[in-house]
């Protein structure tokens, strides 16, 4: 009764060795082993040049993947409700804020402060794209991808129209490296629409997984390794299913003891 039937109209990826969805899809199909050691700073096309230079990294990662997904969907981002999900928010800004507060609190930068809100990425995105639809910024820590996917699916079902999901986290910096194990950036984005008989794009059906289900793992060792380096790389399991030519079912963590059963039909 609670299953949600969707179409995936667009996909975007920005991660080490996976600078876009075509490259990621080929690698996830087993085509080649990506070099996941380096990743240039993202430069998302939909942000103004000044923002591309100075915006926090989370904004750039989220917008890079989001722009690719919207372009593939062929939809104007201005009309898409946006669900932005990040386990940690902008770690570099938090590091700056906490270090400055410990040493010289009255010198805190006002710009860094307003960039420190968890919804900075979706705020910059909505401003750059002129989007006045609903926008949200959420977190479910290490279950961030599955939680974001569920919220996006329910928003698409609710408004009976396409929505944009962007899931992203960046590498830990400063003293936060001693507690946050992320050592690379990762962003993935999907444009999801309610399923329709004459719809385009892969079919995606979500329902709560069986009580004893455990979360799946991507096939490739490099993909499993990325998941250990960044919580948002949990997206790789679904991306692998979307890259494939055959129907696939995967169980995705969406919370403690809560999993989504995702059925993909290309």
């Amino acid at each position: 009764m609670s299953a949600v039937a969707l179409r995936v109209l667009g996909v975007g990826v920005y991660a080490p060795g996976l600078p876009d969805w075509p490259t990621a899809a080929a690698a996830l199909r087993g085509g080649h082993q990506p070099d996941t050691t380096t990743l240039p700073r993202p430069s998302p096309p939909l942000l103004p040049a000044a923002e591309r230079r100075r915006a926090p990294e989370t904004v750039l990662y989220a917008a890079q993947a989001a722009a690719e997904a919207c372009a593939q969907a062929g939809l104007d981002p201005a009309v898409l409700p946006c669900i932005f999900a990040s386990a940690q928010g902008d770690i570099a800004i938090n590091d700056y804020m906490c270090a400055t507060l410990a040493s010289a609190p009255l010198e805190l930068s006002p710009t860094k402060f307003h960039n420190s809100v968890h919804n900075a990425a979706v705020g910059y995105w909505s401003i750059a794209t002129g989007c006045r639809a609903a926008s949200t910024a959420i977190s479910a820590w290490t279950s961030n991808f599955g939680n974001g996917l569920l919220e996006a699916a329910l928003q698409a079902a609710d408004c009976a129209a396409p929505v944009l999901l962007s899931v992203y986290d960046t590498a830990a910096v400063g003293a936060l490296q001693s507690v946050i194990p992320f050592d690379c950036g990762f962003a993935a984005a999907l444009v999801l629409a309610p399923d329709a008989p004459d719809g385009r794009g892969a079919r995606l059906r979500l329902q709560p997984a069986a009580a004893q289900a455990i979360a799946g793992e991507p096939e490739a060792d490099w993909a499993c390794a990325l998941r250990r380096r960044n919580a948002s790389a949990d997206a790789l399991l679904l991306l692998q299913a979307l890259a494939g030519a055959q129907p696939a079912c995967v169980d995705i963590a969406a919370g403690p003891d809560f999993l989504l059963a995702a059925e993909v039909r290309p």
Partner: protein, 400 residues
Amino acid sequence: MPTPIPPLAVTAHTATSAAGSGLAALAQALRERRSGLRSNDFTATPLPCWIGRVDGLEQAPVPAEFAGLDCRNNRLAWAGLNQDGFLDAARTLVERHGSDRVAVVLGTSTGSIGATEQAYRELKPDGGFARAYRNFLLHSPHSLTAFVQRVLGTTGPACTVATACSSSAKVFAQAERLIRLGWADAAVVGGVDTLCGSVLFGFNALQLVSDEPCRPFDADRRGISIGEAAGFALLERAAAAPGAPRLLGWGESSDAHHMSSPHPQGLGARLAIADALARAGLDAAAVDYINLHGTATLANDAMEAAVVAELFAPSARASSTKGWTGHTLGAAGIVEAVISLIALEQGFVPGTLNSAQPDPACGPQLALDNEDRAPQVALSSSFGFGGNNAVLVFGQGGRA
């Protein structure tokens, strides 16, 4: 325009802030027009401003089994859960529906960042966190929701909404979708934000903090007073409690304008209000009480005054209650939802504390004094950084 939604029953609610712990204390402070604001005694570095601080949190750790998540924010969450029988009501709900069928959706702006700030003040010689701060989850925005989920033992959808000052209004929208679309039978919603260096010195850097108690909508207002609060509500399908007050509608929108100031004509605010009324199946004329966002910044109040003056009936009453609580940021949505429910249930409308001379942009709706009224429909607005807007509509129980 969205279509009307089935109303949900709000079967329990509570709030804890500087204006009082629990509903009775909050209602009494509102009636007696007693502000919870005090001169800043929170920051080690002096900062001349007024704050809404909850007393006693320093001596009230969370229970030992949750000690890994002990921090000011989760202490306030725990204090808030223990008011008005809320924790028992929530646990009863989980027993009745099953642990996987009760969603937990909570809002916060800064969560437990106060613990991260403290860790940076106590770094080890190698530059890393001391052992007491080594819990990864404590430094995630999700710390609050994870804590409450562990307290309640739920295993269903659990999400943190962190959209700055609209966070704990948007949780009602997300939870309503989860219930209507069949992913939960009930939901615990709410939000918690606590005083911390990030917000006090951050808003100070933006020159948005008043050096006197905040005066929302006053022509001479000088900015916000920051507060802390916890608030929670239970949402169930209407049939579960015919007499309980109703969540009638919600609206969400984005300004697409600026990171830290609202759209001057309130375009996003208007969209969110229109969507919330459409989901409630009501005209603006049906709204008797509006709990305004009313932060007491120049930009917010000018925008909001004009929007309210234009959209709502002259007989509607509108007030900002931030003079009592301060601006509780990510908790503002739930605190002001609770105040709206108090207005509906107790038949009085709080005025706007500390304000004497309304901004000329204000319409006849602005209530400075408390009034005995019996509102049937209350609307609460929350507008956050990044141009993130959420509006909630509540009504009396027993409606069709």
